[in-house]
Symmetry: C2
Subunit: 259 residues, 2 copies
C-alpha cells in the first residue's frame, strides 16, 4: 500500500480524494489545502472521518510515497518545488501542463479526463485516467494506483494530453454552453426547459453508436435556408447568440462539401 498526500482539494482534488479513499493501493495520510475550510465544507469534500488529516500549513507536510497535486495550473510547479522530501512520486492532475522535469522528484501525471463539480457525485471507475512518467518503475506504481480506482487507464504523453484537453473544451465546456443557450431561449419564452432533457440525453447517447459526423442532423446540414433564416430572425434580440448560430451553422454546412 502506498502512502499519499493530496495537495489541493478543489473540484478535482475532492473527487480524486473520494476515489483514492476507496483504493486498495493507497492510504491517504494528509490533505493539504492553501485556504482554511469550515468543518461542514471539509466534511462535504473529504468526509468527516478524514477531516483530522487536513491541514493548511505547508510546514507540517508529511512524508509519503506519492503526492497528488490538484491545484491551479500556474501553481503546480511551485508546489512540486515546495515538497521537502525528495525522490518521491509527485503527480499533477492537469490536462495542460507538461510532465515536470524537477530533478528532485519522480515526476508523473495523473490526469482524470472528466468535468468535476463539487455537488455532483461521480463514478470514478468509468473515468479515463491519463498517466505519464518518464521512469519505468514510477509508471508501474502510477498504473497500479490508477487501475485501483478506474477501469480506463491510458498512457498519454504531454503533447497528446494537451490536445485531449483542447478536445475536452469542445465536447464539455462548449457543449454545456449550448445547453445554457437552449435553456435561456426556453425560459425567456415561458417554456419549461426540462422538455429539452430527453433530447440532450439522446444526443449524447447517439454518439456511442454513430460517429458525430453520421449523427449530425438539423437545418444547417440539410441546407434548409428557410428555417435558417427564420431562426436568425427569432434571434434578433440576442446579438451574441445570432453570431454563434451563424458561425456554427456555416461550419456544419461546410461538412457537406468535405464529402
Amino acid at each position: 500500500m502506498y502512502t499519499a498526500v493530496i495537495i489541493g482539494i478543489g473540484n478535482v482534488g475532492t473527487h480524486l480524494s473520494r476515489a483514492l479513499q476507496c483504493s486498495s493501493e493507497v492510504s491517504i495520510v494528509q490533505y493539504l489545502n492553501r485556504s482554511q475550510l469550515s468543518e461542514g465544507e471539509l466534511s462535504k469534500r473529504i468526509g468527516s472521518c478524514e477531516a483530522q488529516k487536513f491541514t493548511t500549513k505547508w510546514e507540517t507536510i508529511k512524508e509519503a510515497d506519492c503526492y497528488f497535486i490538484a491545484v491551479k495550473d500556474d501553481e503546480i510547479e511551485a508546489c512540486i518545488e515546495a515538497i521537502p522530501f525528495h525522490q518521491k512520486i509527485v503527480a499533477h492532475t492537469s490536462g495542460s501542463i507538461a510532465l515536470s522535469s524537477c530533478p528532485k522528484q519522480k515526476n508523473a501525471v495523473f490526469y482524470p479526463l472528466q468535468t468535476f463539480s463539487k455537488s455532483k457525485e461521480l463514478n470514478f471507475n468509468e473515468i479515463p485516467i491519463c498517466i505519464e512518467t518518464s521512469e519505468n518503475e514510477v509508471y508501474k506504481v502510477i498504473e497500479k494506483i490508477a487501475h485501483s480506482i478506474s477501469k480506463k487507464v491510458h498512457y498519454i504523453n504531454s503533447f497528446q494530453r494537451r490536445q485531449l484537453h483542447l478536445s475536452a473544451v469542445f465536447v464539455c465546456n462548449f457543449v454545456n454552453h449550448m445547453y445554457h443557450i437552449g435553456n435561456e431561449l426556453c425560459i425567456q419564452n415561458n417554456i419549461d426547459s426540462s422538455i429539452l432533457e430527453a433530447l440532450i440525453q439522446e444526443t449524447a447517447a447517439k454518439v456511442k453508436i454513430l460517429s458525430p459526423k453520421d449523427a449530425q442532423t438539423g437545418p444547417a446540414l440539410r441546407n434548409d435556408k428557410s428555417t435558417l433564416q427564420n431562426h436568425e430572425e427569432m434571434l434578433e434580440g440576442y446579438p451574441k447568440y445570432i453570431k454563434i448560430y451563424r458561425l456554427l451553422s456555416s461550419s456544419i454546412a461546410s461538412l457537406n462539401h468535405e464529402n
Copy 2:
C-alpha cells in the same frame, strides 16, 4: 381504436411508425411515401409484416381517422391539401411549421422533440410529444394517442414550438458539431477519440442535476488566459475551429459579468 395513415417514412416517420405500431389507440392502415423503397429498406423502416401496407401512389390513399404527416417542411401544406377525405384529423410532425388552417381538415400538430437517425433505436416512451390543435374534440384524440406512446405529452402552441425547435438546434445539432470537432482533433493527433466518451456522457448527465449555468467549467469561465492562448495556438492549423473557439470562449466569459 383510431385508424391512421402515415405519410412520409423518413427519419421521423420511421420512428413514429414504429411507436404507433405498438399503440393500443392506433391501427395503422397505410404507409405512403413519395419514393419507392426496396423490400430490405422497407423491412428495416416499418418491419416486414407491415410492408404490404406500403404505397407510393397518392391515388390509392385510404380513408382513416388520422393522417400523420412526416414530410419535409416545405411539402407539408401540399400534403394536407392533397388528402381527398375531409374533416379528418391531420397532424404534421414539424417543429417549425405553424398549425395548418386548412378548412377541409381538423388540423393538429404532433411534434416529437427528438433527434432521429434511422440506424439508432429509440425509446419513444421518454420522448416529449408537443401537441397542438384549435379544437377541443381533436385535442382529446391527439392527447390520447400521444399518451399511448409517450409518458411526456405537452401542449405547446405554434410560437412556443418554433422557439423549442430553435433551442433544439443549440442543444442537439450544435452540440453534436462540438462532438465532431473534439473527435477530429483527437483523430488528427493519433489519439483514440473514445477516451472522450465518459466526458461526453457526464456533461449531459450533469445538467439533469445542475443548471447549465452552474455546471459550466473550463478555462473561459475561469478567465485562464494562459490556457486560452495555448489553445488558440494549438488551433492555428484550423481557421474554422479557431473562430468557434474564440466566439464561444468569449460568450462563456461574459456569463461572469452577468452575475
